[in-house]
């Protein structure tokens, strides 16, 4: 059995959990967690998850399954992940379309895959393997990247679609990542969204990013959501319909009221773009 996830959600992060769990704001309709932060962990994290589950549906977003790695999966981890996810009654799990490690070493960051046919083949095969292992629908997330791609690869949107179609997978559409990549590599974010099969999108991520002095945009999840990303969210929602939207804030976490103002803004956009009347 799964719990319905709709409307605007917020990432359950340690820095904001105390206030969030005490106040339980009605505008937050669901929460998202990273399984790696909770698997086999007691103490405050266990308590946070238990309290959150009393009030909200939970969605999970993985950090380390590494769809683009070339080594075989750690079968014991996939088993552990599957068991953890099963207990949470989640409608789907998501992972990043990136390279997270090599030779059993982890970067603890999301490094970009080359947008090649070889990488698409590997990532789609691995996505299918993970989905089979955990027994839950699996969505991939498009990531931000900062280094230019080689000349012989696909455009990013074509690469993402290639993986989605090969694996018959769902997509967690990160509009901030599309915006960051569009600004860093001079493409039209709306054209990217037009290229995505709308029926594959199950969830959207929204966040802020950092602009360096040299103009390079870094996906820090540590700044307020800029207007351009709100606009891109509106554009995406009009294409894909009322899928749940998550506000990500992992760094420079402000007082909860500031985040809730952003949540309110997201609800306005969500309702205007989708005519949805979900609670919030």
């Amino acid at each position: 059995m799964t719990r319905d996830v709709a409307g605007i959600g917020l990432g359950l992060r340690h820095d904001l959990a105390t206030e969030l769990l005490e106040r339980h704001p009605k505008s937050v309709a669901w929460v998202e967690i990273h399984p790696e932060n909770y698997i086999d962990r007691g103490g405050r994290y266990q308590e946070m998850l238990e309290l959150a589950r009393e009030d909200w549906p939970v969605v999970t977003h993985g950090l380390s399954t590494c769809l683009g790695s070339v080594e075989p999966f750690d079968a014991s981890y996939l088993k552990e992940l599957g068991a953890f996810l099963k207990d949470l009654e989640i409608p789907w799990h998501s992972e990043h379309l990136c390279l997270g490690g090599v030779d059993d070493r982890f970067f603890h960051d999301l490094l970009p895959l080359p947008f090649t046919d070889e990488a698409a083949q590997i990532a789609s095969k691995r996505l299918t393997e993970v989905r089979d292992a955990i027994g839950i629908p699996l969505a991939l997330e498009n990531v931000s990247y900062y280094a230019p791609q080689g000349p012989d690869g696909l455009a990013e949107a074509d690469f993402v679609v290639e993986v989605l179609e090969r694996a018959d997978a769902k997509l967690l559409l990160d509009v901030n990542n599309i915006y960051v990549n569009g600004r860093n590599f001079d493409f039209d974010p709306k054209a990217y969204i037009d290229r995505i099969p709308a029926e594959r999108v199950v969830q959207i991520h929204v966040a802020g990013h950092f602009v360096r002095d040299d103009g390079v945009r870094i996906d820090t999840h540590g700044e307020p959501v800029p207007n351009e990303v709100y606009e891109l969210l509106d554009y995406a929602l009009r294409k894909v319909g009322p899928v749940p939207v998550l506000l990500e804030r992992d760094n420079n976490v402000p007082p909860l009221d500031e985040l809730l103002s952003e949540v309110d803004e997201l609800w306005k956009i969500y309702r205007n773009a989708t005519w949805a009347d979900d609670a919030g």
Binding site: E36, N37, I39, D40, R41, G42, G43, R44, Y45, Q46, E47, L63, S64, G68, S69, V70, D74, Y77, L99, G100, G101, V102, D103, D104, R105, F106, F107, H108, D109, L111, L113, P114, T116, E118, A119, I122, Y146, A147, P148, Q149, G150, V216, I218
Partner: protein, 245 residues
């Protein structure tokens, strides 16, 4: 090939000096150095949070040298960010034993044990109350630490700590914080026996008392009862299991 690309990314992010050949393969020197910074900054942050006192004692430069050396020859094997400081410490403590003041290795061991206790696994659920004819059920986040210096306290002078053999039990309290509690050698062995064997409380008490040449008389029983009551009150002992479990 993706495999070559991935290997080059790893060398650029963790190598002592990224090579021109790798940066050329990946395509942009400037932008791949951004990735190097992002990867290393995230790991450095969690390491410095976990080992804040050790870093302060050693100094930023010496601490950074060891972390950089670890990056260059290993980098994290764990997918869990919270386990990264433990992997670094396994590498670093033998180095600090050679290069730093004699109490620094104890301090690093104490800090990483406290970190592990704070972030340790959930507790088991006992099936019974605690009883002498049952196996004791302990909290998962309990560790016994044997130290040559009392590094759980603030240093007594600018030079650090004078030697003072100390046995600590570190446990996670109700507010999820790691708390040190001093133990005598017999209590430490008892706790270790409870953590690592399937013996009942009665069996383990008899074995440990014999090993310490201690007679189980009224005085011993009174002290043992006080110890057990304290462990239960602190959440170190959670209850008991039937011996057949």
């Amino acid at each position: 090939m993706l495999a070559d690309h991935a290997q080059a990314m790893h060398r650029v992010c963790f190598g002592a000096e990224p090579s021109d050949a790798d940066l050329e393969l990946l395509g942009s020197r400037e932008r791949w150095l951004v990735y190097r910074d992002l990867v290393r900054n995230r790991l450095n942050h969690v390491i410095r949070v976990a080992l804040a006192r050790t870093k302060h004692a050693i100094g930023e430069d010496a601490f950074a040298r060891v972390v950089d050396e670890w990056f260059s020859i290993g980098s994290p094997k764990t997918r869990y960010l919270r386990h990264v400081p433990g992997e670094l410490t396994e590498f670093a403590i033998p180095i600090w034993q050679r290069t730093e003041a004699p109490w620094v290795a104890d301090l690093a061991g104490y800090e990483i044990t406290a970190w592990d206790v704070r972030h340790g696994p959930p507790n088991p659920t006992p099936t019974h109350e605690f009883a002498f004819d049952r196996k004791p059920v302990l909290a998962t986040a309990v560790k016994v630490l044997h130290l040559a210096y009392p590094v759980q306290n603030k240093p007594t002078s600018d030079a650090g700590y004078a030697p003072e053999p100390t046995i600590l039990c570190l446990y996670r309290d109700k507010n999820h914080k790691p708390i040190p509690r001093k133990l005598n050698p017999l209590a430490a062995d008892l706790l270790d026996t409870w953590r690592t064997t399937d013996q009942t409380v009665a069996e383990s008490v008899q074995q440990v008392a014999a090993a310490h040449n201690t007679q189980i008389g009224p005085d011993f029983i009174e002290k043992l009862s006080t110890l057990i009551a304290d462990f239960i009150q602190r959440g170190i002992i959670l209850g008991g299991h039937s011996p057949t479990l």
